[in-house]
Amino acid sequence: MRPLAVLRILGLVVMLFAGCMLVPFAFSLLLGDAVLFAYYISVAITLVAGAALWFATRRATGELQIRDGFLLVALVWTTLPAFATLPLLFYIPGLTFTNAYFEAVSGLTASGGTVLSGLDQLPPSINLWRGFMIWLGGMGVIVLTVAILPLLGVGGSQIFKAETPGPMKDTKLTPRIAETAKGLWLVYFALTGLCLLAYRWAGMTWVDALMHAFTTMGLGGFSTHDASFAHWNSPKVELVAIVFMMIAAINFATHFLAWRRLSLGPYRRDPEAAAYVCVLVGSVCGIALYLYLVGVYPDPWVALRFAAFNVVSVATTTGYSNTDYNAWPIFAPLWMLFLCSFACCSGSTGSGMKMIRAQILFKQIFRELLRIIHPRLQRPVKLSGLAIENRIVLAVLAYLFVYVSCIILATLLLTATGLDVLTGFSAAVASINNTGPGLGQVGPLSTYAVLSDFQIWVCSFLMLLGRLELMTLLVVMTPAFWRK
């Protein structure tokens, strides 16, 4: 392992991140708000810290190995939020580091749970910075899940790389990833641009449209308004949001292939896409029908509108809302929360267990049942007609176990420190799935500010854990990882 080489790259990433801060900085200049001073200091501190780290380790120029990859990923996702808090800390008086770090983690993991209220009064550049963090996080996540995690083989993610462009058989983190990333980012950029124009067309202001284009593509639910999408109360705006949330929760490698070949074929061959669309459409219809039948909405079309927006928003781990779904009969929001744990496709900006793992688990269950009837049966778990190694199935099973354990443990911690069951459980699920708002006291119209410092740290950790697909972060914490 070469920790110094990892730190050198981390230094470079931090310097790059300082460059990213120039975006809200420029907006601040352009719009002439009162935050300019905060950006001066933030950019300076970040730049100096990054440069110092790089300078101290500049001689450590070795090629990164697999283990270094884990360390780098874990370090990047824990360090950057610390720097990202700076503009918030300097501008918002009384904001604790704990809460600011939560906000930044929530941004960079594209979750969308917030501790801030009075969003409408915040200067546009601060809101833009929050949205931009989500967008950056989304960029990082795409590369992470499409290019890096498969290489590291986390939780059976080897199979994700099946159709990514270019062979990546090498065990080293090669420049090939840079090529892959460029292609994927191009799609991400293009879609964000389209989303921006669509929001503007639907009636948002340019600043709102940009901020929401960022958070929609990143599938993090930050908004510029406390009321989230209820602020516009416009089916047109909601429709745009639904379409782009659905797009962003499909594997970007599939988008890239479809775009390069100019055909819809890749979507058909994508083992996840069909299941994802079916699950989402089915759930929307089911919940709309339920809301109509129990009488929450007397008009079926209104029921469909609210069900469609909120179900898609939660299932794709975005976390927007256009109504207080917390007030719906508990079946509907629980079902939505359940959806967000597996509905998103791998390689998208969404989080959770991913559809592909759910499919593998489902097929594994079916196989076990058949094996009881035919004891000598030989039957691989297959996706799109291709057999999956048993090792991967086992990795997915282990992943599921860790995932469930984390939720249980976190729920216990949160309830032990004073939260009610619904709030504690939903906060744990919403955090590990990077969804954002939960239920109860952390519902769509309230914030995480009600949580104690300890609970905030638990949720921040859960968000990081969920974003880095559990194992990436956990492996760094094992003693065996550090042994030479």
Binding site: H374, P375, R376, L377, Q378, R379, P380, A387
Partner: protein, 457 residues
């Protein structure tokens, strides 16, 4: 004819065997001298030891003045290269290769004149698979053969007590099924051929060969035996090349189980086959068969590469209640031993696969040749050419044609029309004529009949 055969495996050996008896000069090439020795001991032929694709070995086998090359080694690549070399270096006029991998067949250019220059491609596994699939479709038949692209079929059926026609003379068939044109071309009674005429009485236990257009087969079979329920569940013992192709072909329409003893092979099968239950175990394991409900199987097919295993597992399956068992048996002596007793159909791979090859070797324009009764009899489809002057068949009525004893013309396909042969049917040029030859010794005479005489050209 001078023929060079590459490969002395099962296919090579049986090809050599059938061609040797037809007075050809045959040279067999193989890397394994032991195999060649046994061949040489049994038949009158020449052998050369060496790698079949090497030009020097081919030259030693006398390929310079060979009329035909038959490349049937284990390896597709060796066969292909040998064909190319034979064509380019030695100007062999006709080349036949055994090609297993379907990948080579996807583009004509690979095997065509600018590719490996193969005139005829044969794949024994595929032929056997088609053969067995036919038996699954017609579980009552012993053999179903297609002629003229499937327009006419020849079925072999064992007559059973209770069939409406059994115990009656053939001439009554017309009254039983007046609308259907069919013809009984041969009857084998206790392994000897009976030349059928209108007065021949069909007895229980006879093997009856009838020709009918493809859609009428079922109707004709009903006359000879009571019909079974259609096949639904099939168990295949052996997941080798044949087992795999067979389960692939049957998977869509039947419930299929495949048993193989090799775990790795099972994994591969399970990965490639859709909708097939792949079981790891020994096909002769009573417990496994019990567990998988062999008693409920409509058909049990044993296609491992081992005769004894096939026979044993078939016998076991039959005793445990499988409705019908089909077994692949290479050794001729075994076939005679078990067929008709407990095993319903014994398939000899060599005889089943050799047909297409024989068609290519025969004189005259022969499109298809099918071996029947383990090679004792043959059915062939010939195209008639020339005119009344140059050919002894063209333009004549069937009663005018001097067929050798035991041979009979069964049906004629003219364009899309199928005509059952009657004594006054006239044969025209370009007709496809289906001839049944009960005694193989008379084959050359039949072939000569269909040849357009050189002096008339």
């Amino acid at each position: 004819m001078k023929i060079v055969i590459l490969g002395a495996g099962q296919v090579g050996a049986s090809v050599a065997e059938s061609l040797v008896s037809e007075q050809n000069d045959i040279t067999v090439v193989d890397v394994d001298p032991a195999r060649l020795r046994t061949l040489q001991d049994r038949f009158d032929l020449r052998t050369v030891t060496g790698s079949a694709s090497h030009p020097s070995v081919l030259a030693a086998a006398g390929i310079d003045d060979a009329d035909l090359l038959i490349a049937v080694t284990q390896h597709d690549e060796t066969n292909l290269v040998a064909c190319k070399i034979a064509a380019r270096l030695f100007n062999v006029p006709r080349r036949i290769a055994r090609v297993r991998a379907t990948d080579y067949l996807n583009d004509e250019k690979v095997l065509g004149p600018e590719g490996f220059e193969v005139d005829l491609m044969i794949c024994p596994e595929q032929v056997l698979t088609d053969y067995i699939v036919k038996l699954v479709e017609f579980p009552e038949a012993l053999q179903v053969l297609d002629f003229a692209d499937g327009k006419v079929s020849l079925v072999a059926v064992r007559a059973y007590e209770g069939g409406p026609l059994v115990g009656h003379p053939i001439r009554e068939l017309r009254q039983h099924i007046p609308n259907i044109d069919t013809r009984i071309v041969a009857i084998f009674r206790k392994d000897t051929a009976v030349v059928p005429d209108g007065n021949t009485v069909i007895e229980a236990g006879d093997e009856v060969f009838c020709l009918a257009s493809a859609q009428n087969i079922r109707r004709v079979m009903i006359e000879l035996r009571r019909m079974d329920k259609p096949v639904k569940r099939v168990m295949i013992a052996g997941g080798g090349n044949i087992g795999q192709r067979l389960s692939q072909a049957l998977a869509a329409d039947y419930s299929v189980r495949v048993i193989d003893h090799n775990k790795r092979r099972c994994e591969l099968l399970a990965a490639t086959l859709e909708g097939v239950l792949v079981l790891n175990g020994d096909a002769t394991d009573e417990e496994l068969l019990e567990e998988e409900n062999v008693a409920e199987m409509d058909l049990f097919v044993a296609v491992t590469n081992d005769d004894e295993n096939n026979i044993m597992s078939s016998l076991l399956a039959k005793r445990m209640g499988a409705r019908r068992v089909v077994s692949l048996i290479n050794r001729r002596s075994y076939v005679d031993l078990v067929q008709g007793a407990q095993i319903d159909v014994a398939i000899s791979p060599a005889q089943a696969t050799i047909g297409r090859l024989l068609a290519h070797v025969r004189r005259g324009d022969i499109v298809a040749v099918h071996s029947l009764r383990r090679g004792a009899a043959e059915a062939l489809e010939a195209v008639v050419h020339g005119d009344r002057e140059s050919c002894r068949v063209t333009g004549r009525r069937i009663e005018e044609i001097e067929l050798p004893p035991g041979a009979s013309i069964g049906a004629i396909v003219r364009g899309d029309e199928v005509l059952m042969a009657h004594h006054d049917t006239q044969i025209l040029a370009e007709d496809h004529v289906i001839v049944f030859v009960a005694d193989k010794k008379t084959l050359p005479k039949v072939e000569r009949l269909f040849q357009v005489g050189a002096r008339f050209l």
